[in-house]
């Protein structure tokens, strides 16, 4: 396993994929950092506001970023015309395993950096609200699950077309659909997987004071059913991708 992963690391040399992973958290820091609370009332509600915003930001940027990561991972094999050579030196399973491990590591890194950015923002701006550890872990798990599902779906599209453009187009259109689904009745969002970050969120707007423009956030119960469905979708796309690699003639 380390062998195939090590080879993928060698292939990733000069491709700057790590910067793409870092860019996600940097966008979040800039986006949320620009709206950072300053008054005591807001600071007392700051983690709730942040945890409400992150899934919205994720539903805008992660479908595109996951398409970017997934398509780049296979695109180098297409452009380099390498599969014909690789399949004489390693099994299809081994190549697929290397890609999967590398891709999953990129997702973990993206989520890890994003979660690190949450802690950093809380520290820098001096949030006074008690740190919601349970919600934090749930957010990390949900972001990972939706990230995996998007990654494997985009990887599958890349394998079908052998071209990064369809995967990127689906990512961009999916991001828009996902965001718009948040403004639709809740049932609609269940049919738009690109936006699953939002229905998976455990925060909601509890009260909106029109006079003072103050928002009070509240929590809602964890959406275990949708989380399980997201993992199941990720597994389905993973299996479809594997079958594609297994059966594809070069």
């Amino acid at each position: 396993m380390t062998g195939t992963f090590h080879i993928e690391i060698q292939k990733a040399h000069r491709r700057h994929d790590i910067w793409i992973c870092l860019l996600v958290s940097m966008i979040m820091v800039v986006w949320v950092g620009g709206l950072s609370p300053s008054v005591p009332d807001e600071l007392a509600n700051a983690y709730s506001a942040l945890f409400y915003s992150i899934p919205v930001i994720n539903s805008i940027i992660l479908p595109v970023f996951m398409a970017l990561l997934a398509s780049r991972l296979w695109d180098m094999e297409i452009k380099g015309n390498t599969t014909k050579l690789l399949y004489t030196l390693q099994s299809r399973r081994s190549l697929f395993k290397g890609k999967v491990i590398f891709g999953v590591m990129e997702i973990f890194l993206t989520v890890f950096m994003e979660m690190g950015a949450v802690l950093l923002l809380g520290k820098i701006h001096g949030y006074t609200e008690t740190f919601p550890a349970g919600q934090f872990i749930y957010l990390a798990v949900c972001t990972t699950a939706a990230g995996l599902m998007l990654f494997f779906s985009e990887f599958f599209i890349m394998l079908i077309w052998n071209n990064p453009l369809p995967a990127l187009c689906v990512g961009i259109v999916g991001a828009l659909l996902g965001l718009f689904s948040a403004f639709m009745p809740p049932i609609v969002s269940y049919f738009v997987p690109w936006g699953y970050f939002i229905p998976l969120s455990s925060y909601e707007v509890a009260k909106w004071d029109q006079a003072t423009h103050t928002v009070t956030y509240g929590t809602r119960s964890f959406n275990w059913g949708l989380l399980a469905f997201t993992f199941a979708l990720a597994a389905l796309f993973f299996y479809a991708s594997w079958r594609r690699v297994q059966k594809q003639e070069v």
């Binding site: 080879i7 380099g80 015309n81 390498t82 399949y87 004489t88 390693q90 003639e249 070069v250």
Partner: protein, 307 residues
């Protein structure tokens, strides 16, 4: 001598269309085997089946004395170098980095990288990104990848594609010298018979997925003899000699040029002597070599399969 590659009734069909039809290939150890056929004859598909890249519809492949299956395929192919269709290489990496990946996959020492770069004359460009390479350089890198680890068998699909004339000449010399230098057996495909004649010892001719001929190059060359063009000073005297010997003659459009049917070296020697003695004045004698298509035609017209 043992066969390094053997196929038994290898078939491949796509949507009911037979692309490779009961192919029985026998490549002798230490030989340079030329796999010849026009574009679309089924050469690349056959080679892909030898490498397990394409699943045969029926038949079997024996590589290095072992019947290839899913269990032993990678182990067998690690002793094999291959270049199929166009060369492979990660464009964002240098030649050295590309070879390093292949060395790791083959499980061999990275020390071999400098040797193969030297062989294909890429040492000076080893640290340039492959994306900046010309097609010829990529082709040479593909050969270097195939040569890594001193494989026992090299399977090369049209390796001179994209090379300039000097590169083609270098590649021919390199391939022809491989059996002596490394003991490797080479299976090389091309659609150019003239190219193959300069480097192969054994030949297989494929057309419409069927093997039309398999055997030593000399055997094929018997089929490649075409008409003879004879340039003389005195045409009437020449025709008189030719008629006396019962050789059918055709007048060509150019003056003083006659066309004779294929003749054996012995008959030709006697004919030239008689023409000289008669005072016909032999100026030139050119033996036409049949094109691959003409050989195909003569092979198919004779018995369909010659071996």
């Amino acid at each position: 001598m043992k066969n390094v590659i053997e196929t038994h009734n290898l078939c491949k069909s796509y949507h009911g269309r037979m692309v490779v039809d009961n192919l029985n290939l026998n490549v002798l150890q230490g030989s340079v085997y030329g796999f010849i056929g026009p574009n679309g004859a089924g050469k690349s598909t056959s080679m892909k089946m030898l490498l397990g890249l394409t699943h045969p519809t029926s038949g079997s492949v024996k590589l290095l004395n072992q019947t290839m299956n899913e269990e032993n395929r990678i182990a067998l192919l690690r002793q094999t170098g291959s270049l199929i269709e166009s060369p492979s290489g990660y464009l964002h990496l240098t030649a050295k980095e590309n070879l390093s990946i292949i060395a790791e996959l083959k499980g061999i020492s990275h020390k071999d990288i400098d040797r193969v770069l030297e062989i294909v004359k890429l040492t000076a460009d080893a640290n340039r990104k492959v994306g900046q390479y010309s097609l010829g350089m990529k082709q040479r890198l593909g050969i270097a990848m195939a040569l890594l680890g001193k494989p026992r068998l090299l399977i090369l699909d049209e390796p001179t594609n994209g090379l300039d004339p000097a590169g083609i000449q270098e590649m021919r010399s390199l391939i022809a010298s491989m059996p002596d230098r490394t003991g490797a057996t080479i299976l090389i495909s091309s659609h150019l018979l003239s190219e193959m004649e300069q480097m192969v010892t054994q030949v297989g001719i494929l057309n419409h997925g069927k093997m039309l001929f398999e055997g030593p190059l000399q055997e094929l060359q018997k089929h490649s003899h075409g008409n003879i063009q004879l340039k003389v000073l005195d045409v009437p005297k020449s025709i008189e000699v030719l008629n006396r010997q019962g050789i059918r003659t055709t007048m060509m459009q150019q003056p003083n040029l006659l066309e004779l049917p294929p003749l054996s070296d012995e008959i030709l020697a006697v004919l030239v002597r008689d023409l000289a003695e008669s005072g016909a004045g032999v100026v030139g004698l050119t033996t036409q070599t049949k094109s691959l298509e003409e050989i195909f035609l003569s092979l198919t017209q004779s018995s369909g399969e010659v071996a």
